[in-house]
């Protein structure tokens, strides 16, 4: 029986091999890409064998650290499998982009990206709180080195911010995990199933703060902008695409099922913060002067929106939030790669240096417009479907919440259109005017295209995803929804 452990093991082992064995530069990049493709293939295999109504599957549950009562318990349901799939895809694209960008010390950079993937898989698949913590904080290690060694000029400040924020949250959560694990009846037991409903308010908030920082949820988003600005494009894609999803995913798959009573009681806090963050992030995205700023703030806004969707504590909200997590992962990763590609070609990401790029660059224009349309949730796009689900949930919650949220969706249209017009349509200005007309092609295009294609695919057949996650999302939500009387 092949279990989900193999998905975690393959990139982890590959990462160690790549770090230790001195491969030639190109070889290392291609090898890492090959590994990530194999992992992606494996994920597709799991998706086909997945039984939507059967709960957690492909499980492994063996003793890990006997004296502490820690077990290696991993399994996936629809929601985690969706996140794992999108992680595998984005990792592959990130590695492809790194290969195209010819990073120096490519074996180390590829190894660290694969290591991040392994940690993320662990976060999404862990059913034991200890293992979950290992993934949740462990992913900081490769991300930290990726930022320090390959980041931009302001990487020092960015690294300090990322690590201080997220480590603080994670350590608070560690105290909560210790409480849940050590007070279990019949000796220490860190299994999530054994922790349901046992935590008090402080444990709930210890977890919630950790997840809110990671997501990020307003007002704990301070680390996001410097990190997204200074990371290399492929790392920013992984960060905003999937690393941040670890936080939102944890809200949905850990916090809400483990603390149904507190989730119901304090749902309004997260709905309020989510609403504020959604509007605030969207407004700030509108004011940014460069591509990364727009994508970063739009990420903050979208993540707040997703958290809001989760804490509606309704089936629609949960499915919508999962769907939106996948969509936003694809959109933001692709946008970061496009923006990063532009920066490497033009030498600057500032709008004042860009403009009129649509001329003589049909591929770039097409990709950008598809992504822009997806991000602003044009009807027919997959993002529209997921946002619609969350908005519907919001209207069910209260009509005025629905109205406010709709306002945020309109703002999203504004900043995305502004981005498109700033880089594609204005007069050729600044550095862009003096460029030789290189279009998006070959390597970089190959790295971005899969994300766009999957996005289009999901727009055409969204049921492929929703059918698989529906039952799982509802199961995660059921206890809390009952508590909340919904």
């Amino acid at each position: 029986m092949i279990t989900i452990s193999i998905l975690i093991a393959v990139p982890a082992i590959a990462a160690v091999v790549l770090l230790v064995v001195p491969f030639a530069r190109q070889a290392a990049g291609y090898l890492a890409l090959l590994v990530s493709l194999a992992v992606l293939g494996g994920v597709i295999g799991f998706i086909y064998r997945f039984e939507p109504s059967a709960g957690y599957q492909f499980a492994d549950n063996v003793s890990w650290i006997e004296p502490l009562g820690v077990r290696w318990h991993v399994a996936v349901n629809g929601v985690s499998l969706a996140m794992i799939a999108v992680t595998a895809l984005i990792t592959t694209c990130a590695l492809g982009f790194a290969l195209w960008a010819k990073r120096d010390r490519s074996h180390a950079s590829a190894a660290l990206i694969l290591m991040t993937e392994a940690f993320l898989f662990l976060v999404f698949a862990a059913r034991d709180l200890f293992a979950f913590y290992v993934g949740f904080e462990g992913m900081l290690i490769p991300l930290l080195v990726l930022l320090v060694v390959w980041g931009g000029a302001g990487r020092k400040f960015a690294t300090l911010q990322v690590i201080a924020y997220t480590a603080f949250g994670a350590l608070l959560m560690l105290l909560g995990i210790l409480y849940l694990g050590l007070t279990a009846p019949n000796g220490p037991n860190f299994d999530m199933a054994a922790a349901i409903g046992r935590g008090g308010d402080w444990v709930f908030f210890a977890f919630a703060i950790a997840f809110a920082i990671k997501s990020p949820l307003f007002p704990l988003h301070g680390w996001v902008l410097p990190a997204y600005r200074e990371a290399s494009p492929e790392v920013a894609a992984v960060l905003s695409g999937v690393a941040s999803k670890a936080g939102a995913f944890a809200f949905l798959a850990v916090l809400v099922p483990l603390f149904p009573a507190q989730a119901a009681t304090y749902a309004w806090v997260f709905i309020a913060l989510g609403t504020i963050g959604f509007l605030w992030g969207s407004l700030l995205a509108f004011r940014q002067r460069d591509g990364r700023g727009v994508v970063a703030y739009s990420s903050i806004a979208q993540m707040s929106f997703i958290v809001l969707g989760i804490f509606l504590l309704s089936d629609r909200g949960a499915t919508g939030a999962t769907f939106q997590m996948v969509n936003h992962a694809l959109v933001s990763a692709a946008l970061f790669l496009v923006v990063g590609w532009l920066e490497t070609q033009v030498g600057s990401g500032s709008f004042s240096q860009l403009g009129g790029l649509a001329r003589r660059r049909p591929v770039l224009a097409t990709v950008s417009i598809i992504l822009g349309m997806a991000a602003l949730a044009v009807p027919g796009s997959s993002v529209f479907a997921s946002e619609f689900l969350i908005m519907l949930g919001a209207f069910e919650y209260h009509w005025w919440l629905g109205v406010i949220v709709s306002l945020g969706v309109v703002l999203a249209a504004m900043y995305m259109l502004r981005w498109i017009s700033a880089i594609l349509h204005d007069r050729e200005s600044g550095l862009a005017g003096t460029l030789n007309p290189l279009d998006l092609k070959q390597g970089a295009l190959m790295a971005i295209l899969p994300l766009v294609l999957v996005l289009i695919g999901l727009s055409i057949v969204p049921a492929q995803l929703t059918d698989r996650v529906d039952a799982s999302a509802q199961a995660l939500m059921s206890a809390a929804a009952e508590e909340a009387g919904r």
Binding site: Y133, A164, L171, G181, W202
Partner: protein, 487 residues
Amino acid sequence: MIKVPDVNWLAIAPMMTLMVGAFVLLLLASFIRGRDRGLGTVVGLIALLASAGFAINLWSEPATTTMAGALQIDQLTQVVTVLIAGCGILTLLVAFGWNRMRENGGEFVALLLLIAAGMDLIAASNSFVTLFVALELFSLSLYVLCAFDGKSKASLESGFKYLVLGTIGSMVLVYGAAFFYGATGSFGFEAINTALSKAGSGDALVILGTVLVLIGLAFKIGVMPFHMWVADVYEGAPTSVTGFMSAATKIAAFVALARVLLDALPAMRDTWAPALIIIAVVTMILGNISALVQTNLKRMLAYASVGAAGFGLIAIILGGAAGTRGLIFYLAAYAPMAIGAFAVISLHERDHKGIATLDSIRGWGFDRPVAAVSMVVFLLGFAGFPLTVGFIGKFVVLGSAVEGNHAWLGVVAVVASVVSLGYLLRIILAMFDRGAKSGVMMAAAPGMGLLNLAIVLCLALVLVGGILPGLGLDWAADAAKSLAAGR
């Protein structure tokens, strides 16, 4: 006619091996000057391995006392013996390529063996007298070792400061022990415990004694406000010695504290626990904040070590089976990280031919990728990141705090950890500073291989201990049963 007490030679074989090794080495060294280094290292390694071997052999023996009850040979003693031997072996590997080893290698190793013997005796001590003798045996040798680089003013200063402040600590400890003798008529831990639990803890003499003993041991551990010597001594001492100190001295001093507070003075808990809580909180926060402003790496890690000592106190405060197991595992976990980190600094000093500062290591990580990546792992281990043994250490100690309803101490520790990230990251950022290529790349020198071996060994210990700590936790739990509180 004085009655000679029975001596169980097998039980004290681990310590005797070390002492015999030291004396043999001192004798031999005076005959073959000039080839000290190789001889010293070989004899030292043999003695340390033999001592660890004896201790492992004794592991399954029942606990005994020997030398008229002055020594207690139990599993805690064995665990400490093995740990100290491990620290000693790694230190020998690190020190081998050091200049001074070429001239006075024999003396260096002999002193190291005496220190190790003293530390083992501390773990075995069953009365204040043995404790004091053992403490002085290791302290006096360590003062000399700190001042070993006689040509360096910093090293002499380090040894001298350590001598003066360490002696004050010892004096205060002895003074406190005298009060207990006055109140209970005995120096033995068990007798004191029995007398105190009968007589109650209200006696002013006993309270004063407790405070003095606590201060004396706090000096040795280097917790605030008795930490003034730590940074200067760590900075001035030869780097290999500093690594040994931060790992092994911490083990010895903490085990002494555990023996005294948990075995001899559990009745005085109401006196020492509140004091320790205050000391722990202040030390964790201020130790890490002090490290933030340092630029000299050894000073920085010295303050980090002060902060870590504050964290270790949590486990003693909580006591119990969880606390004592946590303490022993935490001390064991700290050792490879500390020795490894100082070994990397050693390597840098040899490359750079000067002291290691945040400036001097700029860009050095690209010249020495293996050492630098190891350093990253050690530093993240200090901060308690998962998959390092430091995480498991943090996990068990914080676990004991949460279990003992002192979760707020855990919150303080969390805040301190986040502060510590500030300076740990500065080191990492400096090592991988692309802007400045350090360019100093020393040709392979004798001893470089052994130093690298030590770093890689520490790295392996940190990672294996972080991923599969089950066995180590079992040993720590067994050893904890040697303490009254651990049963």
